[in-house]
């Protein structure tokens, strides 16, 4: 008992430390200003390579689920315009711009039918994400991060776990019980980013005029970069194309 | 029976008879020494630890050892690991930590040990009795013998790889028995490394960049004086040492095909068929032939000493030795009549009918008589002698052909035009007339090795080294005849395996003999043609 007492005193002390040191440690190079004449970038990310055939994995689960067909979430590409889903487009070297709005309604990553939905989310640092378990079975949510505190929680049906991500990092989330299931959280320290929709489209607005390096990240295909000049109050269209290898 | 119980211990084999031990005055407790009775130069080149800095044997300065000699010859070459200092565990004698860590680091070793007599030295009444003998002798209580007892060098505070001497601290009777191998001279286990390194071609091969090519020889020949060759680590099972498989991992191949000849003989085949009915937990001295063993094992015959007693080494009854040394009882036509030419480091001719050998023969018959009639066994062994006399006669005639060819100057290329005998410079420098005898020593001194050496034992170098034109084809043919085929025939006949005796022994020996004849004829013919054309 004495030991616990000593430890808790010690930790109360450490927690004080935590609060005081937080300001120093948040290395935000980004500063917020008014952007009255911001331009908008819209665009499309495409993948021109071949898609792997949909595989049939009989051993995916010990209890065969209703759909024993597994689709790979690695590379989801629209058949209409080759638009690539789940890519994250962001400005690479922006140091000042619009206000970081931390969403009051927490973005959600749900686990349904042994998958994480959505597969990729992009958030601004400081955002809290809610993790849900929508399956009537056990899952766990296991992140591998260094700067943001990693965690690994077991969750049962309808469990909701909220976690705040304070530092820019690309974090992989897995469920160790269902090896196929994983998701990505891309944390950025500025608000200029967007994750592509199912046709590969994205939109980033209120960018202070100037020339920037745009970067697109995809879990399988890696990153692409492009220099783009943003004109005041204008909409510029750009396109990123991943060719096969 | 009672007499038979004393003086033996748990983990090594139990062959000595206590009757013999009890009659002797109590041994003065000198620490066990594998090199007891050897001269100073021998210790300096085989025992003193030099790490991997220099080799071993009289020619140690001419080569650095193989890296693995660290484990094969720990006495001389072991170096403790540098990147993990174990000294703290030895200083504080933390036996538990050895096991805790190695349970995971090398789990096989620890589990092996857990199943050994060392882990539970008092688990059975039999083991208990053996253990209490050791306890009395070593004056300590033994409830468990663990890593620390064998692997910790408390003086140097470092890890050691145990040698026979470490085992001998507790298993003294077995150690002393094993030491007696030296009485019989080579070939034996205790001096098997000497067999490689006292001959000059090992160092010469190393000098010419063939050191790691010797791996195949060294795997058996270095470290045969260690106990774990037969009682493998870390179980050190006595029963394992009593099984033929303990021997045949080394005793195989063209020069000592014991595995092949025993394995395919009636003895061996019955053993393989009924192996599971053999009781290997029984000490050899208590084995009831026909009940515990239906056929003899290697150990049962070779470790039988005499008069019902077994000894913990298998060389005591050897008569023909390896089959390489010519017998005294023949008339030779070649230079074999002068063998061993005054050389002190190879065995003298064998007198098959010496008093000692006749006695040994009767000990063999004692073994055979467990199942065979005395007359049958005696007849069989006599016919083995006859086989060997014939084989040696054939070898003598072949040697005569080669020697005559050389004497007549028809060897091509001649000794003057080819590389000298291996390590001739080293032989002259490192060996004295005391080793080689005056005439041979002088020959090396004056001719610098530019002379042919044919026949047992020093002529066999052609099988272990490659030098320019040395030896020539005909010399190597002769090597095959006397070293391979003669020995195969010998083992085939001795172990009652007709195929090895004939098709791997006698038949190729005769074919090789014909080849030597025709090669000699060809060389003579070419030599004559050359003489005629040159004089024209």
């Amino acid at each position: 008992m004495k030991l616990i007492y000593v430890l808790s005193v010690l930790f109360a002390f450490l927690c004080c430390n935590l609060i005081s040191s937080k300001d120093i440690l948040a290395d935000s190079k980004y500063s917020e200003t008014e952007v009255p004449d911001g331009g908008t970038i819209i665009g499309n990310v495409k993948y021109m390579g071949e898609l792997a055939a949909v595989g049939l994995n009989l051993y995916r689960d010990w209890e065969l689920s209703d759909t024993s067909k597994t689709t790979s979430e690695k590379l989801i590409c629209s058949k209409v315009n080759s638009g690539l889903k789940n890519a994250v487009v962001s400005l690479k070297d922006i140091t000042q711009g619009k206000k970081k709005i931390i969403p009051a309604i927490h973005p959600i990553i749900d686990q349904q039918n042994n998958y994480f939905i959505p597969h990729v989310i992009a958030i601004v640092s400081g955002t809290t994400v809610d993790f849900l378990n929508g399956d009537e079975q056990m899952h766990n949510i296991h992140t591998r991060s260094t700067r943001n505190q990693p965690f690994n929680f077991g969750t049962t049906y309808k469990q909701r776990i909220s976690k705040k991500f304070d530092y820019p990092e690309i974090i992989k989330i897995t469920c160790d019980l269902h090896k196929n299931a994983y998701a990505w959280i891309v944390v950025l320290d500025h608000p200029y980013f967007d994750a592509t929709d199912r046709n590969g489209y994205f939109e980033i607005c209120d960018i202070p005029p100037g020339t920037y390096t745009f970067q697109v990240w995809h879990e399988e295909l890696g990153t692409l970069e492009k220099e783009v000049t943003v004109h005041p109050k204008e909409t510029t269209t750009i396109e990123f194309v991943y060719s096969q290898n | 029976m009672k007499k038979f119980g004393i003086g033996l211990c748990l983990s090594a084999m139990l062959f000595t008879s206590a009757a013999w031990a009890a009659e002797l005055p109590p041994k003065k407790e000198t620490p066990p020494d594998l090199y007891e009775g050897t001269p100073d130069w021998y210790r300096a080149t085989y025992k003193d630890n030099v790490g991997l800095r220099e080799g071993s044997g009289p020619f140690k300065d001419y080569f650095k050892p193989q890296m693995l000699d660290m484990y094969w010859q720990p006495n001389r070459h072991y170096e403790p690991m540098k990147n993990l200092d174990h000294s703290i565990f030895i200083e504080k004698e933390r036996r538990d930590l050895c096991i805790t860590c190695h349970e995971e680091a090398t789990p096989g070793v620890v589990r092996d040990w857990r199943g050994s007599g060392h882990k539970n030295p008092k688990s059975t009444p039999y083991l208990s009795a053996r253990t209490s003998e050791i306890e009395k002798r070593t004056n300590r209580i033994l409830n468990e013998v663990d890593c620390f007892d064998c692997h910790a060098d408390t003086k140097k505070k470092q890890i050691r790889m145990p040698t026979g001497e470490v085992c001998g601290e507790c298993h003294r009777p077995q150690f002393d028995d094993f030491l007696r191998e030296r009485e019989m001279g080579r070939p034996n286990h205790i001096q098997s490394w000497e067999a490689n390194t006292i001959v000059p071609w090992y160092a010469e091969a190393a000098r010419r960049g063939y050191l790691y090519g010797q791996h195949g020889c060294d795997l058996c020949h270095s470290g045969a004086e260690k106990c774990d060759v037969c009682h493998t680590r870390h179980k050190f099972s006595a029963a394992e040492g009593r099984q033929p498989e303990a021997c045949i991992t080394c005793h195989m191949g063209p020069d000592h095909p014991d595995a092949e000849s025993y394995g395919e003989s009636k003895h061996g085949v019955i053993y393989h068929k009924e192996e599971e009915h053999f009781d290997f937990n029984r000490p050899l001295s208590e084995v009831r032939p026909g009940k515990d063993y239906r056929t003899p094992t290697c150990q049962f015959c070779h470790m039988y000493e005499k008069h019902g007693r077994f000894i913990h080494n298998p060389v005591m009854k050897g008569i023909w030795r390896m089959g390489t040394i010519p017998p005294k009882n023949l008339e030779y036509t070649s230079s074999l009549k002068d063998y061993p030419y005054g050389i002190k480091i190879i065995g003298d001719k064998i007198d098959i009918y010496s008093e000692e050998n006749i006695a040994k023969r009767s000990y063999w018959l004692e073994v055979c008589a467990k199942c065979h009639s005395d007359r049958f066994a005696d007849t069989y062994l006599k016919s083995l002698d006859e086989f060997m006399f014939q084989a040696h006669t054939l070898a003598d005639r072949a040697q005569k052909i080669v020697e005559d060819l050389i004497a007549d100057g028809y060897l091509y290329p001649s000794a003057a035009d080819r590389d000298p005998y291996p390590l001739s410079d080293g032989i002259e420098k490192q060996l004295s007339p005391a080793f080689l005898g005056e005439p041979i020593y002088n020959a090396f001194k004056t001719l610098k090795g530019k002379f042919p050496v044919v026949g047992p034992i020093l002529g066999v170098y052609g099988m272990f080294i490659q030098q320019q034109d040395n030896p020539s084809n005909i010399e190597n043919m002769y090597n095959r005849l006397w070293f391979w085929y003669k020995l195969q025939g010998y083992k085939g006949t001795a172990h009652v395996q007709q195929d090895v005796s004939w098709w791997w022994g006698q038949a190729p020996m005769m074919m090789e003999f014909t080849k030597i004849q025709s090669e000699a004829a060809r060389l003579r013919r070419e030599g004559r043609i050359e003489k005629v054309t040159l004089t024209k």
Binding site: R147, N152, D176, K179 | L97
Partner: protein, 260 residues
């Protein structure tokens, strides 16, 4: 029928209690109360680390020391700041005391021996060295240790509830197997954060890696094992449920296998 069952249970609990008591005895806790853990890297710490830790964990704490290559499980890579055995919540860095405890107790079933062979000062001195290998200790601080609730009594009802949690609610068996032998259907595919295959723990051995007291076991599924697939169930289970699961898990120990 009924009395026999009860008798079985009683004898079974006696065995379990005796076993765990024996196991606890064998690694009597070394409290860190008297030892001052330095906050800065000291020369003593550097020396101690170099001599006794770096052969496995590597000079730079990457778990790649010269003898590490043949080891399984692999020595801990300190650069991520992921420590398995903590009193802090899932994902949090460990407290200094947590590290000190692991160093002193070792990790059973691994080559990490209890380093009680070193002095207390030496053991304490390596802690800042270990922390210096990971930037995580610069950006984050350990959370406060989790609260260990009042221990409940290991009644039969409690055991039954633990069994229900193990088999139905949390489905622990999917990795750890119905009998707790670490052979559940998902066992084979598990890997740790460093990409090495990792085996779910075999409870029957009774050599719990984080310590054998009920509180240790309680802490493991309350805090999770960072860097491994083993999650924290702090959010899933009430305090009482966790104690029940603790007792159920400990009841899976097979004394005859513990002896080894």
């Amino acid at each position: 029928m009924k009395p026999k069952v009860l008798l079985n249970k009683v004898s079974f609990w006696c065995v379990t209690a005796v076993t765990s008591a024996a196991l606890m005895q064998s690694i009597a806790p070394v409290t860190a109360n008297e030892v001052k853990i330095p906050t800065e890297v000291t020369d003593l710490g550097k020396d101690t680390y170099k001599k006794y830790c770096s052969p496995c964990h590597g000079e730079e704490g990457k778990g790649d020391g010269p003898v590490a290559r043949s080891m399984l499980p692999k020595p801990r890579d300190f650069t991520r700041g992921a420590y398995k055995f903590r009193t802090t919540p899932s994902g949090s860095l460990p407290t200094d005391e947590d590290i000190y405890r692991t160093v002193s107790f070792g990790v059973p079933n691994s080559t990490m021996i209890p380093w009680d062979i070193l002095t207390e000062e030496q053991r304490a001195s390596v802690i800042p060295v270990l922390k210096s290998f990971s930037e995580a200790f610069e950006v984050r601080k350990p959370d406060a240790p989790v609260e260990v609730g009042l221990r409940v009594r290991p009644t039969e009802k409690c055991l039954a509830e633990g069994k229900k949690i193990y088999e139905e609610k949390l489905e622990c068996w999917k990795c750890h197997g119905i009998e707790g032998r670490g052979d559940g259907p998902s066992a084979a595919e598990q890997e740790d954060d460093f990409g090495f295959p990792i085996k779910p723990f075999d409870f029957t051995t009774g050599k719990f890696k984080g310590g054998n007291s009920p509180q240790d076991v309680y802490l493991r599924f309350t805090t999770g094992l960072n860097g491994t697939p083993m999650p924290s169930f702090a959010k899933e289970l009430t305090d009482e449920e966790r104690w029940c699961l603790t007792y159920y898990v400990m009841s899976l120990i097979k004394p005859e296998e513990t002896k080894k």
